[in-house]
Symmetry: C3
Subunit: 217 residues, 3 copies
């Protein structure tokens, strides 16, 4: 079967839209939680949303995707702006960092598969596609946490890198079967998201010591 | 009207020299304030001064400018060395972080216009040129603050990203008029610098809580 | 004399293997010291080990080396895994950060020479090759310290950037003599490593104030 990029523009663009929204929400909520003003929220939302794809494109020596097609930058800016009012309202009701990590888990799944697919489309071997998928998946969160001077969640989060590796390996294997593109896309995304969700649920039932140990509480 | 790079080598090199000096002073003063020794001051001065242009060139898939022409590396190293004695003398007299931010405001204006111009020259649309101008403008300060483990000023500073966007938009619009290259260059630079200067003055009259909230005081 | 890459595959691969092992140990020990779990140790070991070469290849617009040949990624992951048991055992016996810095000194020497050599092979001038050698040499440690939210050792370490510059200049000069490739390689590596070792010994005899001033103690 061909890669996603070759098979379906609709599915590829769906992944880019959902992934951009997920990372923009993750970046904007994290910024709001750190009490940045609205400039900072929008800037962080945009950098986090386009950062992972930028790292992937630079590593593969492809044209950076938002230079060709800048709409994800504006989508991310709009989503970040829309995130500000609920971020302020929820501040007292729920732990915003859990929302950051939930959006992060979705972005991780989507950008891992997209990174894998982009690498295969660019002609890399399956093994290298898995590595680039993981890099593309984790980079958004790494950039978010670096800019907020937090230890990146990929280093401290339970089953974070492993969830990305599982999704990337599943995608590479499913592409070799006769499964439909829809299945080849969503099974790995849900696998990565599901593994992270289980890890987060486990962490949520434990007192906050672990997640907040970077002094972010 | 053609871009700056096409129109005038003298003006382009003036921007590179002034921007390199501004970022080198900003990086070196920040390093001195964090009590790094002179090796650290020079290294930070150089990385900050050439970092913004490097990010811009990598995103545009151009040859990194200092690999072709390494003189800005030596200019930045020299400026950083010269910054050490006044940095030590001023330490007790004025708040050095204000000098860092003033030099940063000048570098922001110059590298935003230069980034815009480089992108237009490389054939991007006006919208993408604005985005790349902002990225080229803010990257020097982001690198400086990341290396000093501070939250980047682009996230916390008032009217920082907006000042860069204003300068970039002004430059793109002025290039379409029949204004002289000198005007097309300096009006946006002064616009960005002026907006930042106003924001800094306002912050200076407020107790230091805001600017120093990263525990850097 | 030709560059190392042109002269000897065996010597070049020896440098890549030793440098990858050194940086993987440095990243993994640093991760273990920061009490990351084993996922985090492996992820940091891999990112630190391949990060310096990735930065070098991106700056030179070469294909990123581990995309062509991914074995250093697996070597680094294996070394990081093997580092976990001794890292736990030594935790109470010795100051692990000293082991991090010793491995860092070896990686610095090897990747500085390799960066220089790669730049010369890509056709840069000697001066630019020295700058790229230093960048390739310091980037692994910068990435490690950024991800752990520490001020990079290149900014705070005594004689760190200078040791890299000395090694890079020595390599460029030795390549112009009729010295054997083995000598041209190992003399600069030992020079950089030796200068760092002397600086570390001096720091070790002083109370920990300096090295631990980032609050990492």
């Amino acid at each position: 079967m061909g890669t996603l990029i070759e098979t379906s523009d609709l599915l590829t663009n769906t992944v880019v839209v959902l992934g951009t929204v997920a990372w923009a929400v993750s970046g904007a909520m994290a910024a709001a939680r750190h009490r940045l003003d609205w400039f900072g929220v929008v800037v962080l939302g945009v950098i986090v949303a386009v950062g992972g794809g930028t790292v992937r494109d630079l590593l593969l020596d492809l044209e950076v995707s938002w230079i060709e097609q800048p709409w994800p930058v504006f989508l991310a800016a709009g989503v970040a702006l829309l995130t500000i009012p609920p971020a302020r309202r929820w501040a007292t009701a729920v732990d915003q960092w859990q929302i950051v990590l939930a959006a992060d888990a979705l972005g991780l799944g989507l950008f891992t598969v997209l990174g894998c697919d982009t690498a295969l489309h660019a002609g890399t071997s399956s093994v290298v596609a898995v590595i680039l998928g993981v890099m593309g998946g984790i980079s958004g969160g790494v950039i978010r946490d670096l800019l907020l001077t937090r230890t990146p969640v990929v280093l401290t989060g339970e089953i974070y890198a492993l969830a990305a590796i599982a999704g990337a390996v599943a995608y590479v294997l499913l592409l070799r079967t006769s499964i439909s593109p829809v299945g080849a896309l969503w099974i790995p995304v849900l696998l990565t998201f599901g593994l992270r969700a289980i890890a987060l649920r486990r962490a949520w039932s434990i007192p906050a010591a672990r997640i907040d140990r970077d002094g972010d509480g």
